[in-house]
Amino acid sequence: MIEVTGLSKTFRVHKKEPGLMGSVRSLFQRQWHEVHALKSVSLRVEAGEIVGLVGANGAGKTTLVKCLAGILNPTAGSASVLGSTPWERRDGFRRQIALIMGQKAQLWWDLPAADGFLLLREIYRIPEAEYKRSLEELAETLQVGDKLTTQIRRLSLGERMKMELIAALLHHPRVVFLDEPTIGLDLTAQRAIRDFLLRYREAHQPAMLLTSHYMEDIERLCARIIIVREGEIVYDGGLQEVLSRYAPHKQLSLRWDPAPGEGIRSDLVPASLGEIVSAELGLLKIKVSRSKVAEIASLLLQRLPVADLNIEEEDVGTIIEALIRKQ
């Protein structure tokens, strides 16, 4: 559905020195420098997939989404979305995609959502019966049926975002780009939107590319993530595989009732088992290789009078955060 090869986008921006003199100088002699927003990015997304694009601010996520939606012309590389090059902006292509941006509204501020939907029906030439059906279905799932005739600006942020989602999905796009769809929403609204997206995926199987700063969004929605850093893809794979790749260890914590005066005996817990994080009387924390967790745990259970055993996994979010900043 989406196929990208070697996509690069370079912006030319001019540097302005601070202060009035800097402004005067830049009037005559402008210093340009290039910002490489995307550096030779390649990826594929199939129908029915929700792929999470993760990265810090300015990492290039939004630029990538905008290139694939046909808004930006890339500097180099190629992309094929539904078989056509997005930035040629063919009507056949545009009729089958949708873009939802949490930061930019598409519906007309002073009008009720229902009016905006009518315009979209005309733009996408949605047949009357199909329009009615999909509006009903979307409004019901998102529980905003009673708000359709309220002016957009009188809606809450969450309700507005739901309307934006309806607006974007009325024409049943086969490829959906979501750029921070839950930004600024409270937890209930975030959850509602996430549930909705999952149900929508189930029913219509579009290819979805999602960017979000909320790890919760990513963890709940995406089986696969792409981590972007400074315009480059540093990871593309399963969400859970991030753990095995970047968190090869799990931490075992063992607690037991120590006999008075007893220390950790190195013959019972040799350093070869793993890295000892902390060892005190009655409490041992040891980092062991992910593949040997079971083996070592049972070994230690035999050797120590363990009362309590805990196997801790590093949090995916924390690992991704670390990857985004720098390994």
Partner: protein
């Protein structure tokens, strides 16, 4: 058949723009009436200016007072059509380009230029357009000679062509915003240059004339339609008007597409 459906679809879209603009324009009352009064003053100044000139002379560039009145009514109509259909949209366009607000227009399977040029219909100016129409009726009605119905119909059509040309040039002064990020000065230039429309083309000679009837065709938007109505029919000026309009339509669509390639969609 396809072309027909294409046109009908765009007409239906335009009907939506009208509906939406209507419900929004009533929101800001003060602004609504202010603009009506401003433009009526502009019409009065135009008519008054030539009225005073004709107290001192009988003929200007070959036209008597009655003929000049039709010309003035013509350019008022050009202005009113532009103010009603295009002006608000073009006024917003530089901000849209700079703030990255073109995004949603670019993903729709409709001409983005059509959308952005016509989405806001100015109902206050529409009231002025009715006044402008009244001025045309008055100018034609008080004309001592005979003007055939078909001549008047052609005149009105060509005035519309003139308005379209006026829009093209206005847009051309805005499109550099794609590259410069600020189009203010050029925009001002447009308003200054537009004064050339308010004088009959005959007063321009030599290279200035060439400039004002081809490259910056303010000289022909209202003058040529008036000449075609008032003077013996002249194929050459009709052809020139249509050729210049076609040229400008191609030019704006070319530069628009170039601009979109440079569009940087200021990040959210």
């Amino acid at each position: 058949m396809q072309a027909w459906e294409f046109r009908m679809r765009y007409l239906r879209l335009y009907a939506y723009f009208l509906r939406f603009s209507m419900s929004r324009s009533m929101e800001f009352r003060l602004d609504f009436f202010f603009r009506i009064i401003m433009d009526l003053a502009y019409y009065a100044v135009g008519l008054g200016f030539f009225h005073i000139l004709y107290l001192h002379t009988d003929s200007l560039g070959g036209w008597n007072m009655h003929q000049m009145r039709i010309f003035v009514a013509g350019y008022i109509l050009v202005d009113a059509v532009h103010m009603t259909m295009f002006s608000n949209n073009l006024y917003m366009l530089p901000r849209f380009i700079n703030h990255g607000d073109l995004d949603y227009y670019l993903i729709r399977p409709v001409s983005s230029l059509f959308f952005l040029s016509l989405r806001d219909f100015a109902f206050n100016s529409f009231i002025n357009l009715i006044f402008a129409g009244g001025i045309v009726v008055w100018a034609v009605g008080t004309y001592p000679g005979t003007l055939g119905a078909s001549g008047i119909a052609v005149f009105l059509l060509l005035i519309l062509a003139g308005a379209l040309l006026y829009y093209c040039i206005h847009l051309l002064t805005i499109l550099p915003t794609f590259w410069t990020q600020s189009g203010e000065s050029l925009h001002q230039l447009f308003y200054n240059l537009s004064r050339f429309m308010e004088r009959p083309d005959r007063i321009y000679r030599g290279s200035i004339r060439l400039l004002l009837t081809v490259a910056l065709p303010f000289g022909l938007m209202a003058s040529f339609p008036a000449r075609l109505l008032l003077e013996p029919f002249n194929w050459a000026i009709l052809a020139q008007l249509l050729a210049v309009l076609t040229g400008f339509l191609f030019l704006i669509s070319f530069i628009w597409n170039r601009g979109l390639r440079a569009y940087s969609s200021a990040s959210s």
